[in-house]
């Protein structure tokens, strides 16, 4: 049976992914909406829109890495 320490690490890992996930989602939602608006005006902006939209994804990737580091130390 796992001890309480491992349980807390697992909760920490879960929080790291979930909170950063929510944060990226909030950031991407407004950028994405603006990007779709810009694309409606000019199709050529698709590339720029896509790149700008995924910039906040870095946050969740850092969260994922933290989670994995925690998990590996469990």
């Amino acid at each position: 049976m796992a001890d309480i320490g491992s349980g807390l690490i697992a909760i920490g890992a879960g929080l790291a992914v979930s909170i950063t996930g929510i944060a990226s989602a909030i950031a991407e939602s407004s950028i994405g909406a603006a990007a779709v608006g810009a694309m409606a005006e000019d199709d050529k902006l698709f590339g720029k829109g896509l790149i700008l939209t995924v910039i906040p994804e870095t946050i969740v990737i850092f969260g994922l890495v933290v989670a994995i580091l925690l998990w590996l130390n469990m």
């Binding site: 590339g47 896509l50 580091l69």
Partner: protein
């Protein structure tokens, strides 16, 4: 292969008598990209369209209105008509069809008008039908007010009470429509009561006679008209079948005539001569010159102005204009005729991936066309993420069918993605993971689910050996070897990014020379390699639990490369390089998604397999069918999700991580004069 095709700028000058024939020739060559003439050159004005343009446009207008009247659907009529059959008599034939259509179309619109009038009258009469009062009874009173309308509840009792009996009401049989006759003096009071009962007032229709009778007459008229309309529609259909091919063919023919005769609008013209500037692939310039010489001998002058080099000239040109005293507004008003069009050159396989490059942006003339990088890396990434024979096979089959059947660019793009991604998934599924539908071919532990146990067939784990290296069905499992997979994806990322930087280095060299390339791109390659070395040490320390040793040669070399590279980058690009430094780490970490998405797929597959096979099917009986159902639905869901997640993330890693290292884009696509015929045949 890597760079867009070399281009040359040519100048064609000739007399106006030769203009129509030259236009024909230019369209026939199909490799001349015309540059719009800028009328600020002395002695020349913009050319004017050839005289046949106005006639053709007039006829085109008639044809388009016929297409609309007859509802000709372009996709349904695919016959190709030879031009010689339509061109000589096009004018008279159009008039003939017009005359033939005229009666039908006119009677159709007259009938439509009558029909909609009858329908609107009927809808007005509808509520009055069940009240047996002549329409003339509703009007012409001096001291009475008539209120008619829909109601929610029956107000009769309330009205009687409020108006002291001085009221006459008629309610429809359904009870939700009422007509009220009240003395003028009490009209307001009646209104109030009626509104309390949810009155929506309607107008009393004009006319005399019993509403029921008028309405049924109208209904008769409507059904007669509808029937007549059907006949007219049949007529129109006959006309459509008869003339659609001609109409579509003439439309196409005349559109081509108009396009060709409007080409002079893009040329310069003097009183007797025309001048045209254009781009052609350098390799084809000889062909263009020869074609003109064969047709016109020496009476058309054709000259190669330049063979465009890859060096960046655009910026310096703008600077020259600025120095010449032009304001910024004037500079930007000068047309970009210097922009070299870009013609990508690929074989059939790689060419299919052009869609993904162009979706982002067309490459510039002086940069590496990234299509080949997408064609190599996208399937690999897709394969690593999906990595399952059970999904790879249907992906490949779907993609193959799509490439065979579909025509539209978007569907072909998606089919390309599925086909090559599917093939890569099969390869990775067989040899890297040894997986089919989340179940391994041959599980290392006897108690795990595997195909060999399920089917009762012995599937060998080692297929064959090359030298001492055994080729196995699967080396890793997506859920069991997470550490190794994550580690592997980091190195894939580093390799991918270094390739991107190397391409950027090459771009910079051909544009601005080696010196710029070293300070702006090679510096980043050094930083990346330094980071990779430090990463090795970090993995040892953080994950394998070794003590940090500052004298480790990898650590020293890594930090050294990082620092030197950073200094060079700051010198080359300024302080912005410092801001970009953390991006190195986030870029590399971004590739961990390759493992993470693979894990999520495998996790879902594991859950469905467990439910379907171990929980349900092992019960036997009806449960086998339920288990099978869950198995199919579950895997179908994963399959669909795989398109979205693996496809999207696979392409995103190209666009965001790789392309950012070298790709600028925003080029002008090579768009030669060319005629595409769908409904006509040229002989």
């Amino acid at each position: 292969m890597l760079l867009p095709e070399p281009m040359s700028r040519i100048l064609v000058v000739g007399t106006k008598e030769r203009l129509p024939a030259s236009i024909e020739l230019l369209y026939g060559l199909e490799n001349v990209h015309v540059v719009d003439f800028s009328p600020d050159e002395e002695g020349f004005t913009l050319g004017s369209p050839l005289p046949e343009a106005s006639d053709a446009s007039r006829m085109l207008l008639k044809l388009r209105s016929m297409e609309k009247d007859l509802k000709v659907d372009e996709a349904k009529f695919g016959n190709k008509v030879p031009i010689s059959k339509i061109a000589p008599t096009i004018d008279t034939t159009i008039e003939q069809i017009e005359a033939e259509m005229h009666g039908t179309i006119a009677s159709k619109s007259a009938m439509q008008a009558r029909l909609s009038e009858a329908q609107s009258k009927l809808s007005l009469l509808q509520p009055f039908r069940s009240i047996d009062l002549d329409l003339s009874m509703y009007k012409g009173y001096g001291s009475l007010d008539v209120i008619a309308g829909h109601i929610h509840s029956n107000p009769e009792a309330q009205l009687m009470e409020a108006l002291g009996g001085e009221v006459e009401t008629f309610t429809s049989s359904s009870g939700n429509f009422i007509v009220v006759f009240v003395p003028l003096a009490k009209a307001d009071e009646a209104q109030r009561v009626l509104i309390q009962n949810g009155l929506t007032e309607v107008q009393v229709p004009e006319g005399t006679g019993k509403p029921e009778k008028i309405a049924s007459e109208l209904e008769g008229e409507i059904s007669a008209l509808t029937k007549e309309m059907e006949d007219v529609e049949k007529n129109i259909e006959q006309l459509r079948e008869k003339h659609a091919d001609f109409i579509l063919a003439s439309d196409e023919h005349l559109s081509i005539v108009v396009e060709k005769s409007e080409l002079p609008l893009r040329m310069g013209a003097s009183e007797h001569a025309f001048v045209l500037e254009a781009w052609a692939p350098t390799a084809d310039v000889g062909k263009v010159q020869k074609a003109f010489k064969d047709k016109f001998q020496d009476s058309i002058h054709i000259e190669v102005l330049e063979d465009r080099s890859r060096e960046e000239v655009h910026e310096s040109k703008e600077e020259i204009r600025m120095e010449a005293g032009m304001t910024t507004a004037e500079v930007s008003a000068v047309p970009m005729s210097q922009e070299t069009p870009v013609k990508l050159q690929h074989g059939k396989g790689v060419g299919r991936f052009e869609f993904f490059t162009k979706l982002l942006s067309t490459p510039r003339y002086n940069e590496i066309d990234p299509t080949i990088a997408v064609a190599i890396f996208f399937p690999i990434f897709f394969g690593i993420m999906v990595g399952d024979v059970g999904y790879g096979l249907p992906f490949a089959v779907l993609g193959y069918l799509g490439l065979k059947k579909t025509k539209s660019k978007e569907w072909r793009g998606i089919s390309t993605m599925l086909f090559y991604g599917g093939l890569a998934s099969i390869v990775f599924g067989l040899f890297m993971y040894g997986d089919m539908l989340g179940i391994e071919f041959n599980a290392p532990h006897a108690d795990e689910l595997s195909w060999s146990a399920l089917l009762g067939v012995d599937i060998p784990r080692v297929l064959f050996s090359i030298g001492d290296i055994p080729i196995q069905l699967g080396y890793l499992t997506k859920l069991g070897d997470v550490k190794i997979l994550l580690y592997l994806t980091l190195w894939i990322g580093i390799a991918h990014l270094i390739i991107g930087l190397a391409l950027g280095f090459y771009n910079m060299t051909i544009r601005h020379g080696l010196k710029h390339a070293i300070s702006e791109k090679f510096s980043w390659i050094m930083i990346m390699v330094g980071f990779a070395l430090v990463l090795l040490v970090m993995v040892d320390v953080l994950i394998r639990g070794f003590a940090l040793d500052f004298t480790d040669i990898r650590f020293l070399a890594g930090v050294g490369l990082l620092v030197v590279g950073l200094v060079m980058a700051v010198k080359g690009e300024g302080g912005k390089a410092l801001v970009e430094l953390p991006e190195v780490m986030s870029n590399v970490l971004s590739y961990t998604r390759l493992a993470a998405i693979g894990m999520s797929k495998a996790g879902m597959a594991l859950a469905f397999n467990f439910i379907a096979i171990e929980m349900l099917a092992s019960e036997g009986g009806i449960m086998i069918i339920v288990g099978l159902l869950i198995f199919v639905v579950g895997h179908l869901m994963i399959f669909v999700l795989a398109i979205i997640s693996a496809g999207l993330h696979g392409i995103r890693l190209q666009y965001v991580e790789l392309f950012n290292k070298f790709y600028e884009g925003g080029g002008l696509e090579f768009n030669p004069l060319k005629i595409e015929r769908k409904h006509t045949l040229e002989e």
